[in-house]
Symmetry: C2
């Protein structure tokens, strides 16, 4: 595969990641709200994401269309089986990325900040490398 084609494929993959990224953060956040407070409401999701609530309502519509959540008018938001599975996967990945950044000497707040973006662009192979590094003996 010529170099230009491979580069194009890489950029294409990043664009794909951006499409799933929002869904991933939403389901992870919704799962977190359900598990910690008993239910996920649009207002809470909006506050946690730092966006206006109509933005959340529209996003929830897309997630429902894509089979990740279920919601009835004026009721709170539920995850489908698929959505719950995605949330679990994302939560695990999120924790690995944070743990890994901590391990190489990044402070807690920065690790959380960077992980929120990095997590969506980490392949299985890289994730495995992160885990390996976390389990290795202290660095430095």
């Amino acid at each position: 595969m010529p170099d230009a084609d491979r580069q194009a494929a890489n950029f294409q993959r990043v664009r794909e990641a951006h499409q799933t990224e929002l869904a991933e953060d939403y389901v992870e956040l919704i799962a977190d709200l359900i598990d910690s407070t008993g239910e996920a409401r649009a207002t809470d999701v909006a506050r946690r994401l730092g966006v206006a609530h109509p933005t959340v309502v529209k996003a929830i519509g897309r997630l429902q269309r894509d089979g990740l959540v279920e919601s009835l008018p004026y009721r709170s938001i539920f995850l489908t089986e698929t959505g719950r599975a995605m949330a679990e996967r994302c939560k695990r990945r999120h924790e690995i990325v944070v743990g890994f950044l901590r391990k190489i000497g990044v402070d807690e707040e920065t690790a959380e900040r960077d992980a929120e973006g990095i997590e969506h662009h980490v392949s299985e192979m890289t994730l495995a490398a992160f885990e390996r590094l976390i389990r290795s003996k202290p660095l430095g």
Copy 2:
């Protein structure tokens, strides 16, 4: 700062990163084309990014509006001082991220793929940690 607020701030930062991300990849790619082939043409940029050429033309318009590139009708694309500086910064960062992934055992192709997305979400502190690790003795 309450937990919900900090989480919102983190998500906000990721959204900001997404706004600069495209500009970063464009200027880096344009610089690469200029340095390796003598000029950057919209078609080449399109092929390397894996998008249709009108997409590039519109993006170039935005980059020009934002003072990163200059272009005249039917001529190739040039970087402004600002654009060139951004390209250099991004190239360096890109290389650090790739080098770091290689160091922890990720193969060349995967490293390139993941780096294309990760690079935009790496803070200065994390980048410094990556550099430290690259310079450290072999792992494993």
